[in-house]
């Protein structure tokens, strides 16, 4: 499919979705487009991964959803961060920071 398609680890996908929802509630396509925009097109989230993740996180209580209207007056399900979701995002961000730092160091040490 797309050449720069990257296999997303599940935790990474969750992190990206939560991150995309920090400022404003979005519907499914909106989440996908936001992730695409902030990663400069590195991550293209397929609906087959996106929707299961959204529904799963809603069940976990990290997201809540409401029915609203899209830009073209279409009924759409909007997702927003809950307080638990925000806490989870903070925790995950911190963890991710540690991991990426560690990996970066490991790669530097190679040279």
């Amino acid at each position: 499919m797309t050449p720069n398609q990257t296999e997303l680890l599940q935790g990474t996908l969750d992190l990206l979705i939560l991150n995309a929802l920090t400022t404003t509630p979005l519907h499914g396509l909106g989440v996908a487009r936001r992730i695409e925009a902030v990663t400069n097109g590195t991550f293209r989230v397929k609906p087959g991964s996106l929707f299961p993740a959204l529904h799963r996180m809603e069940e976990e209580g990290w997201l809540s959803a409401y029915w609203g209207e899209s830009e073209n007056n279409r009924r759409a399900k909007y997702y927003q961060l809950t307080r638990a979701g925000r806490r989870h995002l903070e925790k995950e961000t911190e963890r991710w920071g540690r991991i990426s730092l560690a990996i970066a160091r490991a790669l530097e040490a190679r040279g």
Partner: protein, 884 residues
């Protein structure tokens, strides 16, 4: 709280499923629509935009399915959905469902029935406190065999050992209950600590007291719950009352709980133990001696003492005793048998063999069901293809198919519970030949768990192969218009393999059944040494003060036999202290003049029959040499004895036994002269070689027996004279109890009942397996004929002879059968040796049995092919070609 969220959404997924589904649909379709709008906004034409959006979103149904499977509570929901779908599928194919359920009911039902037997007999815990610590302790005789213990030895063991918490002894006791109709009861005499040691407490009254355990105060009994109900109307005030038994009076100390079934003293011919009396010995009694081996010792091992430790200690004690009393022991050492082993050891092998056999039946049922499913799978390819196209993943489809199978298996298991429910009744009707604890063979939670597990296993096992085949269905090919279901090569091979294994398994079972059948035939061909036909037996145990006079006793039996002899239709009559195959073990030391050992304990012993004259004639035991016992052999004439051929050969191998003198039992009795040599009889069983035997005249022996069995030879069926015979004896003394009034032939039948039981069951299993395999072979052949109708039509149209078509189909079936036979023979050669202990005069690889069984199976299997093959032969080429 995340947990709360999860529970709530799970509940929503299950209970508000429709709303959740509707919202999911709107959401996912909205996504596609927005994608489309986005593309149009970028200038794509509506058509192109729709196409691009569809490709990018990869199918709304697939997305929805992925969301569904990521939801909480999904597994449960899917299971529920699968089961509902399975029910629909089965209702649409009632024919398939019935065949499958019957197959499974046979397989699972037979397994449940046998498991309930194994469970009731072997797996249930013994009804004692901490039964693993209970051990039987035997003296070891000079041949290394276990022997009962004498009272004096028991006392020494008890006082000297440190390994056991406690030791107790018991011996059998057959009192005659004299309240109401006289009845001989099965009982035990036990030391006062017996029940305390086992951990059994009376439900009414009290246990035996230590101070009662002596000769002065030993007329105290405990009753079983069943006896209390049966003979005493569950009298709540029974405790302390006196009951009349065997011409004495006994005080009832208590009643044991209904849950307690005595396991000691198992005899298929007698009943269970229903009454216990305190032993009441002391060392001054003549039968409390060291050589009086008639007590069984049970011990409870102390915590932390190992088997090796207790054995070593008991061996040391025994060696010291042997040193102190060299004349009274034939060898030092003890033999320890865990109680469980003693009570259930004999039952284990036959039950495990049955369990092994019945699991083969389950395998055949599995193979058969798998076969049916494969046949059906060809027709379901399309359905599966549609479901795959609609977003079902492969795992999901396999799960669905397995759910269908498990549903089938559970329905089969439900039907299969019927035979298990009937098992106790069937066992009672067939007779098991002395399996203990049959009263516990019933449905309990273990049986139900086993059945459920068997059903689950069957469902998965039989469904796995077909499901994986089906789930690999090629969507594109199957959805093509007009594509007809056709079995792929792989599927055909799989079905062939299943038929081969069915044939192999059935053959193994059939060969097992064949070997058992031949053993039984061989065994029944063994002459017992007497003629059991037309003989009625009645057992009695003489009762009453006046019979304490031995002369009165002797006269009573003489008169009773005379009254029986003159009955119409009676040819001859006699009485004996025991009869062959009667289950008694009455052996006396046999001390021949001039050949005695320095320690007489080491002399051989012989089975002792104390008989009235006429016994040989009535039993038709042949007199080989010398003379029979005559009415003239009396107290005033010299002592005589008859010996069996084996006795003569063993004691006087190169001499003439006639005229030799022996003493039997004790050495202070007068010599008896051998006046006749008679044929051997099988006393223990038809399958064991006869021991030494001797016959002494009741009219002459200083201690005439009071327990005797009358034998009456009639010209007609023996049962017909039963009531006349009873009346004849009661006309002499109406107070005498008569028991086991039955034809002598029944004793012979009882002695082979265990083998008959195994044969009937394994025979039944083999028949079920054969039936299932024949259905399997028929199914595969019929299916292949249906598939090849067109090909056969073309062959016939091109000039093939009918007979060639027939051979074509038969050959195909024959190859499968042959492969099954080869495998089955190999398996049988490996497995039948486990049957060896149940075989008699037949080798475990008896070629005759193998050949016969193979022939039977091949003929039956070919017949199963023949029916569809004949149909193939009659194919009309015109019809077949138009069939397309």
């Amino acid at each position: 709280m995340p947990v709360w969220h999860r529970i709530r959404s799970m509940a929503r997924n299950v209970f508000a499923r429709e709303r959740v589904e509707r919202e999911l649909d709107v959401e996912v379709r909205g996504y596609s629509a927005m994608l489309e709008e986005e593309k149009m906004a970028r200038g794509m034409k509506p058509n192109e935009a729709r196409r691009a959006a569809r490709i990018e979103s990869e199918g709304t149904e697939q997305i929805k399915e992925q969301v569904r499977s990521s939801r909480g509570g999904k597994t449960l929901e899917i299971l529920w959905q699968d089961l509902r779908y399975a029910v629909r599928m089965l209702r649409r194919n009632p024919g398939f469902a019935v065949v499958a359920i019957v197959t499974l009911a046979l397989g699972i039902g037979a397994n449940t029935a046998i498991f309930s037997l194994v469970n009731g007999v072997l797996l249930r815990p013994l009804p004692y406190r901490d039964p693993g610590k209970l051990t039987i302790i035997w003296e070891q005789d000079d041949k290394g065999k276990p022997d009962n213990v004498g009272y004096a030895t028991y006392l020494d063991w008890k006082s000297q050992n440190k390994s056991f918490e406690d030791l107790a002894v018991y011996s059998s006791w057959q009192p005659i209950l004299q309240t109401g109709e006289p009845e001989q009861l099965n009982g035990l005499r036990v030391t006062s600590n017996y029940f305390r040691m086992l951990g059994i407490h009376p439900e009414l009254g009290r246990d035996f007291l230590p101070e009662e355990d002596n000769p002065a105060s030993r007329n105290v009994v405990l009753l079983s719950h069943a006896l209390w109900e049966r003979r005493f109307n569950s009298d709540p005030n029974i405790v302390g009352k006196a009951i009349a038994m065997s011409a004495s009076s006994y005080v009832v100390a208590g009643v044991l709980p209904a849950s307690y079934q005595s396991l000691m003293n198992q005899d298929p011919r007698g009943g269970t133990v229903e009454i216990w009396r305190v032993l009441g010995y002391d060392v001054t009694l003549p039968f409390a001696c060291r050589t009086c081996h008639h007590l069984v010792a049970v011990g409870r091992v102390k915590a932390g003492v190992s088997f090796a430790q207790e054995k070593a200690e008991m061996d040391t004690i025994s060696a010291a005793l042997m040193k102190a009393y060299p004349k009274e022991y034939s060898a030092a050492g003890v033999i320890l048998t865990p109680l469980r082993e003693k009570l259930l050891g004999d039952a284990r092998t036959p039950l495990f063999i049955l369990f092994g056999a019945v699991s083969l039946v389950l395998l055949v049922a599995c193979a058969n069901l798998a076969n049916l499913l494969l046949a059906r799978s060809t027709n379901r390819q399309r359905e599966i293809a549609v479901r795959t196209a609609l977003g079902a993943s492969r795992g999901r489809i396999v799960r669905q198919l397995l759910a269908e199978n498990c549903l089938l298996a559970f329905l089969g298991a439900a039907v299969g519970l019927i035979p298990a429910y009937l098992t106790p009744r069937v066992l009672a009707a067939v007779g098991t030949g002395g399996l203990p604890r049959l009263e516990g063979v019933q449905m309990d939670w273990r049986v139900l768990v086993f059945t459920a597990a068997a059903a689950l296993l069957t469902g998965i096992l039989s469904g796995l192969a077909p499901s994986f085949r089906l789930s690999k269905t090629d969507v594109h090919e199957s959805l093509k218009e007009g594509a007809r279901g056709s079995a792929s090569g792989a599927s055909r091979r799989l079905r062939g393999m299943l038929v081969v294994s069915e044939v192999a398994l059935s053959l193994t079972l059939l060969i097992g059944a064949g070997l058992l059948l031949r053993s039984l035939a061989q065994l029944l061909n063994v002459s017992p040494g007497f003629d059991a036909g037309h003989v009625l037996t009645l057992r009695t145990s003489v009762l009453g003060q006046r019979y304490n006079d031995n002369n009165v006793l002797r006269q009573y039996f003489k008169d009773a036999v005379e009254r029986l002899r003159v009955l119409p239709g009676v040819q001859s009559a006699a009485a004996a202290s025991q009869i062959p195959l009667g289950g008694n073990m009455d052996e006396y030391g046999f001390h021949p003049e001039g050949k005695m050992n320095a320690n007489p304990e080491l002399d051989e012993s012989a089975e002792r029959y104390c008989i009235t004259s006429g016994f040989l004639a009535t039993m038709r035991i042949p007199l080989l040499r010398g003379r029979d016992i005559e009415p003239s052999d009396s107290l005033t004439s010299p002592g005589v004895i008859l010996i069996s051929a084996t006795t003569a050969k063993q004691i006087w191998p190169n001499e003439d036994a006639l005229g030799k003198r022996v003493k039997i039992g004790v050495l202070d009795h007068p010599w008896l002269t051998v006046v006749g040599i008679v044929g051997d009889v099988h006393h223990v069983g038809l399958d064991s070689t006869p021991n030494m035997q001797m016959y002494i005249p009741h009219a002459q022996y200083p201690f005439p027996d009071t327990d005797m069995t009358f034998v009456v030879r009639s010209s007609g069926p023996p049962r017909a004279i039963a009531s006349a015979a009873g009346q004849a004896i009661h006309s002499l003394d109406a107070t005498q109890p008569l028991s086991r009034v039955m034809p002598l032939e029944d004793y012979v039948a009882l002695s082979v009942q265990g083998r008959r039981f195994a044969l009937i069951l394994i025979g039944a299993f083999a028949s079920i397996a054969l039936l299932l395999s024949i259905v399997g072979i028929y199914g595969v052949t019929a299916y292949s004929v249906a598939q090849r109708t067109r090909e056969i039509g073309i062959r016939v149209a091109l000039g093939a002879q009918r007979i060639e078509v027939l051979t074509l189909i038969l050959r195909q079936g024959f190859v499968l059968i042959l492969a099954g036979v080869v495998l089955g023979v190999a398996a049988s050669v490996g497995l039948t040796r486990f049957l060896a202990s149940m075989l008699f005069n037949v080798s475990a690889t008896d070629p005759f049995t193998f050949a016969l069984v193979i022939m039977l199976l091949v003929v039956a299997a070919l017949l199963a092919c023949w029916i569809p093959a004949r149909r193939a032969m009659r194919v009309d080429p015109m019809v077949a070609l138009r069939h397309e």
